[in-house]
Symmetry: C2
Subunit: 422 residues, 2 copies
């Protein structure tokens, strides 16, 4: 193994399709993530097509600048799968026929009642001096090749083949050379803007050099990605994150809704279940997105009872018993109608809690008084109702997303009160 | 310009974040797409971090194997933005201070009422012999550098900066060297499986070498991507696609729902508008996804009136007047209940047409008789009702998506009958 303090690691993804606008190289992201988990970083990534010359050029360049080279793809049976032969010829090595590989490939076909096509013969050739990485999910074996002071690892492209091969045969050998122990955590927040969070965190950033904090922004959701390294143990790395999380929780409080991966709709679902409360909703401009998110959670039928998509004014009157005069007087997008929608659906459904959304998702339908992005969100529960006015920026999709996010977040904050009362 | 018949083109994306699992290099996909439009292909893509040595290694390797090199990113004002200086030192060229660039950067800041931070000074340095590509959307100018028989093009990383710069200053120079004319078209289908489509198209594939057909599969939607090249003109390339589309339309007929980019919900929206019909919906297992998709189309309030999310049995009785006995007898997921839901919501809303969905999205709630993925979709219109039984495979999200797709497709096929009657 050629992994040392200064080893430079390169991933080469092979395939014409990866040089088109239609396919993303996701295998290299996977390998990056897994090696990062060991504190090992990638120095270069390369993408090259199936052309013999281009592939040879790419491998030659990599051999100059990198110590460990992952080659992904081009191990299949067809004419344009050339990784094996080009690696061999670039290194001046022979291809050797391995009867036992051929037998395994033939067995795979026979198990499914097929005869092995003759093109698959070429997959039974391995590069001189390499050892075989077994492929339990496909015909192409991987190869582990130490050549001089370089290490080349040839892996198949299909994700369901490369992942088990990497986990079973590659990862354990890198594990021995683990440089550092790594811990990660993601704190998801809602209710604060990115610049607000930045200003709150201004003096948190320059902590310890071993801990890293990155902010990622999505519509209505800012995520804090925490990352730490330790030379000693995973426990040490994790403890460093505990300290950082403690500090962040103190500063951001209830704005943090999740620290172990849950989405907002999952958190709200757990809180509803804990509080033994049922939910119904009335949506206008989001048109079903809020219900879709709530019901993306498996088991949501335990607390979610019903919803109405009152898109037209008539349906607001008809399904929610909202007085037509109220809509005429204030407009369908108003504090008053949002309030009436939340009260109405709660009454009709008999649910403990109800949410409502009415707004202008755009791009048309806005006015100077009521611009695109104006959205009222209502929350009704036994004894009271609350309405929030929002002005969201963005396209139709982003405004719908932010509206549903705001509704879920209002519900979450409301449910937290029950928890605190206990 | 160094673009000839055999020019090899490489894109290098620069930045530590691109070597983490969290960021995808999307700029290179954009450039690939735009050059592909001219029949020009990319031979290599490389990704490298901000380290001076790694960047120098990467550029050196590229200079050996490529003729034209795009360098994206690393032109910002901070310490780790090093593309300019590393390109200069690798080529043995000087960095030259340009007063007029500094003035432009300073003006950008002053326009917003800020003083220019001193770090931005470094962005006013250009590489000897290069020409400036103006940046109207940021502080970092791009550079066009012909060095011996190589061409290097340095562009900023932020998508809203690189795109206009590429379109205004880079694209026109490549246009002169257009190798081929290219045309693209996407035919979207619903209602057929990928293997069914493959078998129908078996003898279509080996058409002309200048025309290419790729099949991409999504839940409930198979897309045919058509691509053609001509040495003569765009018109010729487009005509070749006309011939292929004619053949495909003949074989696939009404299974093709769009040939100019529209999503299924947009096609359904246009058909509803043409037929002057209104729509209401009743969703159970999709929980709002169908309504969300319908209302993703701007102007959908013209035909979409209302929906109900009848998740609980009680709500089916209460909102849709479905007899409780019917649910007890057949179960909530049944032909009979789907039918009653479609008839019920049509009657309550007064809409011309109604859709209903009831099914088991999983992962829990299945049984041997009614497995996860069993979904009934109902369509009701004046005088009749139709119910389709489906068994969808996949996780909760995929089953919800396929269910909404099936409902929209049933409605589309129904609306096509009105068109044909005319």
């Amino acid at each position: 193994m050629k992994l040392g303090e200064n080893s430079r690691i390169e991933i080469i993804a092979v395939g014409n399709e990866l040089l088109t606008p239609y396919y993303q190289d996701t295998d290299s992201i996977y390998i990056t993530q897994r090696l990062n988990d060991l504190g090992i970083e990638i120095n270069f990534k390369s993408i090259v097509g199936d052309s013999r010359d281009d592939l040879a050029d790419c491998i030659s360049s990599s051999l100059v600048r990198s110590d460990i080279i992952f080659l992904i793809g081009g191990l299949g049976p067809t004419e344009d799968d050339r990784t094996r032969e080009v690696v061999a010829s670039t290194l001046g090595k022979k291809l050797i026929f391995e009867e036992k590989i051929l037998n395994k490939i033939r067995q795979r076909f026979e198990l499914r009642g097929f005869e092995m096509p003759s093109v698959n013969n070429k997959q039974a050739y391995i590069i001189e001096d390499s050892s075989i990485l077994e492929n339990k999910h496909g015909t192409a074996p991987g190869l582990w090749l130490e050549a001089g002071d370089k290490l080349l690892i040839l892996l198949p492209g299909p994700p369901h083949e490369i992942k088990p091969m990497f986990e079973n045969y590659v990862w354990p050998r890198f594990l021995e050379f683990q440089k550092q122990f790594v811990a990660r955590r993601v704190l998801k927040t809602s209710g604060l803007t990115e610049s607000k969070i930045d200003s709150i965190l201004l003096d948190v950033y320059p902590l310890q050099p071993s801990v890293n904090l990155t902010t990622l922004a999505y519509p209505g959701q800012i995520e804090l990605h925490l990352f730490s390294r330790s030379m000693e143990s995973h426990k040490k790395a994790d403890e460093a994150l505990n300290d950082l999380e403690y500090d962040l929780q103190k500063r951001l409080g209830d704005n943090i809704f999740s620290s172990s991966g849950e989405e907002l709709e999952e958190v709200v679902g757990s809180l509803l279940r804990q509080a033994q409360k049922t939910l119904s909703i009335a949506e206008s401009c989001t048109g079903g997105l809020l219900g879709h998110r709530i019901t993306n959670v498996s088991g949501s039928s335990d607390y979610f009872q019903q919803g109405v998509l009152t898109y037209s004014n008539d349906s607001k009157v008809q399904l929610l018993n909202i007085p037509y005069d109220l809509i005429l007087q204030h407009g369908a997008v108003s504090h008053e109608v949002a309030k009436a929608m939340a009260i109405g659906i709660r009454k009709i459904s008999g649910s403990d809690i109800a949410l409502s959304i009415t707004g202008i998702a755009g791009p048309n339908g806005g006015s100077p008084e009521k611009p695109v992005g104006l959205v009222y969100v209502g929350l009704s529960w036994e004894g009271d109702v609350e309405v929030a006015k929002n002005i969201f920026l963005g396209n139709r999709e982003i405004i719908k997303t932010q509206s549903s996010q705001k509704a879920l977040d209002m519900l979450r904050r409301h449910l937290l009160k029950y928890q605190k009362k206990r």
